[in-house]
Subunit: 161 residues, 2 copies
């Protein structure tokens, strides 16, 4: 009796998830490549570095490396290297805690703070520019609906099954 429904289900909505996933991937890749390129040529920075600095910018007292790792969704081992390079050119400062000598806290240097502000301003301009042809209402809805996708994905990670 609902053969029609089954049939239309198998045709129209088929692979909708897959298509969306591929488009998500392509769109993000396109935009991040552009941003990466501009960060590199105009500031000599990389996207992961920018991401890390953005976290530190809003935490004046700095963050432990583990906290940085989870906020930027970057592995621990990777944070070590990122922090090392950023410390080397004086953008951030790394220091061990006295209370607990296992933890290391990273925070922006003064130089790093002004450096980041310049980048952040440009970064926001680039993003706005790239999305210029999309209506504000659409942007707003996308934000909400993408939130649903993220929540759904989060609930279906393989370690919680």
């Amino acid at each position: 009796m609902d053969l029609e429904l089954v049939a239309s289900d198998a045709q129209e909505g088929k692979k909708q998830e897959l298509k969306l996933w591929l488009r998500l991937l392509a769109t993000t890749k396109l935009m991040s490549q552009e941003i990466r390129r501009r960060l590199r040529t105009e500031f000599g920075a990389t996207l992961p570095q920018f991401d890390l600095l953005a976290q530190l910018y809003r935490e004046k007292d700095g963050l432990r490396l583990g906290e940085l790792s989870s906020r930027t969704m970057v592995t621990n081992g990777n944070v070590t290297g990122l922090v090392e390079r950023l410390e080397a050119d004086g953008t951030i400062i790394r220091e061990r805690l006295e209370d607990d000598k296992r933890v290391t806290v990273a925070r922006l240097s003064e130089k790093g703070r002004t450096y980041f502000e310049g980048m952040a301003e440009a970064h926001e301009r680039w993003v706005k520019e790239m999305m210029a042809d999309v209506e504000p209402a659409v942007l707003k809805r996308l934000l909400a609906e993408l939130g649903q996708v993220k929540e759904s994905a989060q609930r279906h990670l393989s370690d919680d099954e």
Copy 2:
């Protein structure tokens, strides 16, 4: 006279693009990390490899490396390495053209074809699973609206200004 408009503009809709971009980045990162992890544990493959194989799967006669590069949005130099590794374990075959000895064509081996089919089936299942909590109508709209974002970004890349 339209101070209100200016004010609300500065509050409500402000940084809408930036927020969307960050969410786009976070969602994609979350999902691709999960897919990466599963590809690795269940098939010993990586996401870029999967992406490359997917392109070859639908082109029985194979593709030139440059074509692969642009379709996967991966640099030339990177394609060389990817193809090398995939050829080493017999998934794909690489051969020079007689007509034009500069070009190299890569295509799936028989083994690679069945190998990829297994992966593709699993990959689609994972994606579907992660998006399970999102209504089909929302998925459909997201696909269309994300398309707008992609188009807009494409039109505002820095080399065409």
